[in-house]
Symmetry: C2
Subunit: 340 residues, 2 copies
DNA sequence: TCAAATTGGTATAACGATGTATCAGATGTC
DNA sequence: GACATCTGATACATCGTTATACCAATTTGA
């Protein structure tokens, strides 16, 4: 098997110098039509593709983008990835996804390796409890970076996210307006990231109507954990009639949990999720939720990074998109109201 | 803001030559303890990380691995990615995921960009209808490659997959043994990949017992599509009492579809899935399925690639793991048997 | 018709690391 | 004390591109 073809091979096959071949390959300089054709033919024949490392090293441009995320399995994130890839790929970038699984140590190793290979830019959902050194690492290596979803106050990075607090407040008000007076908040891994903002919104909404006390219950962001957490929450506080969930995965788990103990979501207990993942609409019963279009969000995110790469000296900016309340069948007035 | 630190900077801060600094950084050569310490201190202080491009170009070793997959959103695949990353990251590699979304054109662009950036190896679930040129591209550039799940007969690549035909035959026999005589096969995108092998297993099982006719119904591999396809299938063939599904996503969709029209999965119609994704166990009712541990499968896959990279001249090999039948609540004897 | 401008191509120095050859000085051996 | 050996560091060529400076041949202009 032949060695991997290089520019030198192409040049010698075409009978020109490497310099000429290089100019033809990237459409620069002034080369006559027939030499150009000879070079292109040689390249085609050898299946030549330029070595991006060498090119990037010399020219300083790099079209390799990383998307470092905390959780690749989440279907909302999967849709975001689609949006990001679509935009960046049409702009000529290659997107590679790194899954930190929300582990800051794993994240550190991944980002170090990422920097070593000198990629062109980073989209980043920081893992829970990301230490400052990791931020400084990115800064020190001048990596064009846009954070996503989880905003790092302490760092000067561009940011794209969701109006979490405002949306959660809206969801909470909606439940209270239906007549609920014991509204719990369920889900979220840790004292980190979007959960903080969503809980702030939840608290703010409750504070605005003095007759409901906040009640917050933690749970990892997946269905299994949501199911278990709902059971535990209900055991501890059987009087709860409504639950604001940190995400749809938890909400669907909670829905399954309620059904397991003979309660009907949307009648005995109201549930509201966040994200509007594909499962939300086909769940039984269909889940009420705060919807953000993850595909468009991904495009927005990618666009922000491209702008940063194109104009490295522009001031950093923060973009926050609003969520829309989607009412399906897990939200209804509490039972005592329905009896009236 | 300072420029990105390079070896030269480290060397000058430490008061040594670049050559010395290089040797210290990679623990080669013979360097005295105190110079070593000086260099390391300088590197630490500057947050120096070597430029992997330059290193790889010169030394020829590259610890960047790509995982090109057809569908990142599928939770089975997400678990595979975890297994792959865990193994490769402890071996010092960086894993980047590329999502072709089963589009051969997108895949071609991604793999071209991947080759350009000269990564060290590729794990690959070929997109549906992958043209031969894509294979030849990888061959021409001598990319160490292991295919996953979808076996390419025509190419000499290592392969890791599942005993699809055998497992599906086992599932089909199980349903027939329960007494079912109208057993459909549901799901699969196209005339491509694992679907072919699974259907072959289904057909073989039915052929071994002459009293059941094959009935095959296509559907994309997601819940929404599975739901719709189940409705259409039932409308066309209301007498069906059992369905072998191409995957759990379709099976769960089918389950939801049946419930939507008032049928009870596991009583009126038996369903059996494939993959044992997390949702399968907590679905209502819990789904019977063919289980393969995706995490371990991912590790196996990664190990195969490492072996290929380490020993480029060893003969190519194919690994196929067997699936285990998990009986939950969507499989039971058909109703007429239950009445007896 | 001779200088000036244009065309089409090449030689060569980077980019940031690595690895080998080399070398000066310290140590050891008999 | 002469010669071999070892130690610790350095110079330099190299990896595969790109960008610039340059040059010879051709065309243009007055």
């Amino acid at each position: 098997m032949a060695e991997r073809p290089k520019l030198e091979t192409v040049a010698s096959v075409a009978g020109v110098s490497v310099a000429t071949a290089s100019q033809v390959m990237r459409g620069a300089g002034r080369i006559s039509a027939k030499t150009r054709e000879r070079v292109l033919a040689a390249a085609r024949q050898l299946k030549y593709l330029p070595d991006g490392r060498a090119a990037a090293m010399r020219s300083g441009v790099n079209r390799d983008i990383g998307f470092a995320i905390h959780e690749i399995a989440n279907p909302f994130n999967a849709e975001v990835i689609s949006g990001v890839s679509d935009l960046l790929e049409t702009e000529g970038y290659l997107v590679a996804v790194l899954d930190s699984r929300d582990n800051p140590e794993r994240q550190r190793k991944q980002l170090e390796a990422f920097i070593r290979s000198s990629r062109g830019g980073l989209l980043w959902v920081p893992a829970a409890h990301t230490p400052s050194e990791t931020l400084e690492l990115l800064k020190a290596h001048q990596m064009p970076t846009v954070t996503f979803l989880r905003h790092l106050q302490r760092a000067q990075f561009d940011h794209v996210g969701i109006e979490d607090a405002e949306a959660t407040a809206r969801a909470t008000h909606y439940l209270a307006d239906l007549g609920h007076r014991t509204i719990a908040y369920l889900g979220g891994n840790a004292t980190f990231g979007v959960r903080l903002e969503r809980i702030a919104g939840y608290r703010r909404a409750l504070a605005e109507r003095s007759d409901v006390e906040p009640l917050i219950w933690e749970s990892p962001d997946n269905k299994r954990a949501g199911l278990d957490a709902m059971l535990a929450l209900h055991r501890a506080h059987p009087d709860i009639t409504a639950v604001v969930c940190n995400g749809d995965m938890v909400a669907i788990g909670a829905s399954l949990g309620l059904q397991k103990i003979g309660l009907q979501p949307g009648r005995d207990v109201s549930l509201i999720g966040f994200d509007d993942i594909p499962d939300a609409g086909i769940a039984i019963p269909p889940l009420s939720t705060m919807a953000v279009d993850p595909y468009q969000l991904g495009r927005r995110l990618a666009r922000t990074l491209v702008d940063r790469i194109t104009e490295p000296d522009s001031p950093t900016a923060t973009v926050r998109v609003t969520a829309e309340l989607i009412i399906r069948e897990t939200t209804a007035p509490p039972v005592q109201f329905q009896l009236n």
